[in-house]
């Protein structure tokens, strides 16, 4: 007998939206309108940079990723695990969403290993190794809405800074064994565009074949390529659909739907 899985939507929002209280409030309102079970994954990079600067700590980026030394790890633990995460949780509770803020250390839900030093030493940055989703799936089924901060742990007592897109993808893959899973990545545009100067030139459906065609033609390029490759990988691992859309459209049908 095949049991019908219930719908779960994992939404990832970047750090720009969450640092402004007004845009955050709008986001939480839109997020609360998504039907069915929900998980919110947030970034917090711009705010971490601002707090680090105020503390006299320099932010160092390599290939768009933050180098996280011991001092910067304290900053991101404070900003991602504390300030951003708890403001979101309190904001959701205020509109009747029973949120629970988590880092990967909480309930041991996401373990990682410190990224090996090659030509770059990223410091306390984690590559995800294992997701323990049993507690999470159980809580979600009881109506709890997890709010995931971009921090994991190594089970040796260290927190590790972890890319929020990765957290969203790994959580979605693991939870897809329990739920009929939609993964939404918020983006500054309404979707993946065929013409970056035309905001309405949205690719509504993207399959692996179409993706290859657009890459060959140079229509899809740059940072969007790894993002979409990761999306296809999530789909192959059990996620039902990945949607790339603008934050204010997460509760509507729209954006680019990525399917196999």
């Amino acid at each position: 007998m095949i049991r019908t899985k219930e719908k779960l939507t994992v939404v990832k929002v970047g750090g720009k939206i969450v640092e402004d209280l007004q845009s955050l409030k709008q986001l939480l309102s839109d997020f609360s309108k998504i039907e069915g079970y929900k998980v919110l994954v947030h970034g917090g990079g711009p705010l971490a940079t601002a707090v680090a600067t105020q503390l006299g700590i320099e932010s160092k980026m390599v290939n768009g990723r933050r180098v996280t030394d011991a001092e910067m790890l304290k900053v991101v633990t404070m900003v991602y695990g504390g300030l951003v995460n708890k403001q979101i949780v309190a904001g959701l509770q205020a509109i009747g969403v029973n949120a629970l803020g988590l880092t990967g250390a909480d309930l041991n839900y996401m373990c990682s290993v410190k990224r090996p030093v090659t030509d770059v030493d990223y410091g306390y940055v984690g590559d995800v190794k294992q997701v323990n989703d049993d507690f999470l799936a159980d809580l979600i089924a009881k109506g709890v809405v997890p709010v995931l901060a971009p921090l994991t742990h190594d089970k040796l007592g260290n927190l590790l800074n972890t890319n929020a897109d990765t957290i969203a993808g790994e959580a979605a893959k693991a939870l897809s064994t329990h739920f009929d899973l939609t993964l939404i990545y918020c983006f500054e545009k309404k979707g993946v565009l065929t013409n970056e100067n035309d905001d309405e030139s949205i690719i509504h459906k993207l399959t692996p074949n179409l993706f290859e065609k657009y890459v060959t033609e140079g229509i899809i390029q740059g940072g969007m390529i790894p993002k979409l490759e990761n999306s296809f990988q999530s789909l192959r691992a059990g996620v039902k659909e990945v949607i790339i859309t603008r934050a204010d459209l997460i509760h509507t049908v729209g954006g680019t739907k990525i399917i196999l």
Copy 2:
């Protein structure tokens, strides 16, 4: 039929122990040795003061309590909800304790109201109004160890700075309906002393009658009086015993046992 309740120990530790990584590690090791179900409640005041100073924010105390304006609320949200709480959670996970860090906003487990302004305006400080312990009790019974930060929320979207002793007392009272509850307050001395210059002059058992006698005789005085009054109040609300002891002795039989 009377069902035997299982034992739960709620331990409250102050901010001095948690700010030093070495003393924190020892504390977590001692805490993990307590048999049965466990909850850890932590402070973080000295670290909040240090971070505030580094950020150029002045800490203002009135009657030993922190005045929490909007900027200070951000600091305590970062330090209590993020840095301290998540370091404890990661540290406990490293020694096999399945910790879950929580503020009162998470799972809506502790609601408060912003303290009314009288002669002092404490700012974003919460007086506890309601404890929703169903999720918490359920998680504890499944082996999860909640780690409670001294922050509550008002259900209107605001986090509120809340005394860690109060959090411990309120959580203990609520959880005593589900568990056979011991509440341990860590203290710099081995217990309540009859002679403050003699660290071994511990009062091993303290009842309301003895307490009144010692207060009348001037043996118990100062800040210890409200602490003990709160302890008796917890006992009257269902907590089985309150113990005041030194942090390194929490896993042993010792300290001052407060009973009705």
